[in-house]
Symmetry: C2
Subunit: 357 residues, 2 copies
Amino acid sequence: MTMEEKTENKKIGIKEIAKLANVSIATVDRVLNNRKDVSEATRAKVQAIIKESNYQPNLYARALSVKNNLSFAVLIPKTSSQTGYWDLCLKGIKQGIQEFSTFGITIDIFLYDQEDVKTFIKMSEDVLSRNFNAVVIAPIFISETIVFVEECKKRKIESIFVNSDIKGCSSLGYIGPDLYSTGRLAANLTSYLVPAKSKLLILNIARGLQNYAYLNTKIEGYTSYLNNLNKGFEISNIDIPSNNYDEIAIDLLRHIGEFNPDLIFVTNSRVSVVGRFFNEFKHIKKPHIIGFDFLTENVEFLSNGMIDFLICQRPDKQGYLALDYLYRHFLLKNEKENFKPMPIDILTIENYLFYEN
Amino acid sequence: MTMEEKTENKKIGIKEIAKLANVSIATVDRVLNNRKDVSEATRAKVQAIIKESNYQPNLYARALSVKNNLSFAVLIPKTSSQTGYWDLCLKGIKQGIQEFSTFGITIDIFLYDQEDVKTFIKMSEDVLSRNFNAVVIAPIFISETIVFVEECKKRKIESIFVNSDIKGCSSLGYIGPDLYSTGRLAANLTSYLVPAKSKLLILNIARGLQNYAYLNTKIEGYTSYLNNLNKGFEISNIDIPSNNYDEIAIDLLRHIGEFNPDLIFVTNSRVSVVGRFFNEFKHIKKPHIIGFDFLTENVEFLSNGMIDFLICQRPDKQGYLALDYLYRHFLLKNEKENFKPMPIDILTIENYLFYEN
DNA sequence: CAGCAACTCGTTAACGTTACCGAAGGTGCT
DNA sequence: AGCACCTTCGGTAACGTTAACGAGTTGCTG
């Protein structure tokens, strides 16, 4: 049976509604925007017509008409020499700025040093010294972030987290992946890469590790999955609190020499240094490698087969979505959506080429 | 070093340009849209000012002002009882309809039966009998599609393909994944799932297989990757040209009994029937299974561990992007973009939950 | 009952762009 | 001179929505 679907598009406007309800367009506008100055009787009548006519507001007309004075702040780490991760997030933010500036929204970016809590405090004070309507935060420094958000709440500044979450802290929630699940996914892929009783090395590379609570969430997901499998894996967990390649390399040499893992799971985007390591010390048997994030330096080692899997979360989309959420919250007055965690992507040597499209 | 970035957003409009150039806004509009009725002298003057002021047109105002009369046709298979794949594509199409109807674009959907070429011919004639500006086509029936597109070209109707491509045929190109690469990716994952010298079964399940040229592209990618690996895999390729589960099951029983594969690669979205098969015949040793597409019935077998990997391509996004491309082409008068293939996603039991977000 | 607040509602000018209409000036022809 | 015609340009009404302003009504106070 063949079939043709017709799309009926008699877009109804505020004007027609007004005519149908025998009121002026201003009254319809008042009803639509839940403003006062309209009697219950007419409100009900207009609302009925709105509902049955399936009215959809013309966002373009609204964008044109409204002269907003909204301003948002973005408070995230600056890109360090060690990882380009935050550049990607910033890219999405800038796309958002481009798009939302048409609506009269101004957005200011504050970058702090994720290895220096003082810079975070300084930047957060800068944010408070101005008068923003909302702030996007990447909560690296947990306790300081909590203090900051509390102050925001007092001043009626909305807050939203990206990249990682502090449960119940921000006023508008969290946009990012479910970190526990990323750990489980890494474990799932691990189970495909190595046979039972293999030796697995969990590797945390970052200075100031005490701040990176979200790494532990990933590790919990990873180990819980593997323990359930009951395949007799031998798991070792190592911290290398450094950003210096030589320091990391020598530490790796020590641990790998004595443990000799079949697979290394790098818990953040620093996986490329492990790739570099095995590129340099070719006499050491290369284990399987799993890591995070679509960074140029990581992709290099994915493309030459050094890294097996990269687990990714589209940080640019994350940054964009944060602004988009604020836009919807303030401009479209959307009821608070309960956003779901972002997709978790798997990249291999065979599909990374198409990822950024 | 801490740092704050400022975004300067002095959006300049057509009115200011007119003032700067000492002309009316009508003239500026004429210059902007390359219309005639403006002298070379003033055109140059206005163009200079436009360039140096970095003018960006306000798309919302344009959308509001322009009363378009564009109409697009969408010509894709209807969802069969066998697979919900095309429903997803349709979902994206409908989202596009929703969004672009604001611009005065009307979109009509023509669904044909992918098992009956006559319905395709009938629908394509229906399309031609009306006067569309462009048509989105899923080219299942290769030769008939070529005939149809040629006729479209004669009538100045633009065409764009989704899901699979006929190289150089459509006037506006192709939106979808690189099919050869999806085959290679399946092979890549295969190499992780099974050891050397394993027995691999490539399974094509579809009626009228001669029409599904794109399945062969996937198979070429798959086998070429595996041959390069040189791991002594034993590969068998089987067609089951049926839509009836019992027929498929009995055929599977025959082949699996004699071949006893370690892994089955189902080349399209029909992978769930294989899951159902091994669910029913529990005495047969279940091989690893790789298949395509995020369909409810497939996800069911992904979630219970029957299927190891699903390779996906967001068909809804595909449908949406096709309409979005037409919108840009006609409305924004974008120069012809050379679009890149869509991302290829990998779904496992651990990340499928977040995919639709 | 004057006065004034509170409530309800309509009129209208914007927002930036497009497109129609016609004015002004020039050229060529009778 | 008169007329037709063309080129070049400006004026302006839309598009759908918002918000400032003010007009009309009611109810209450002193």
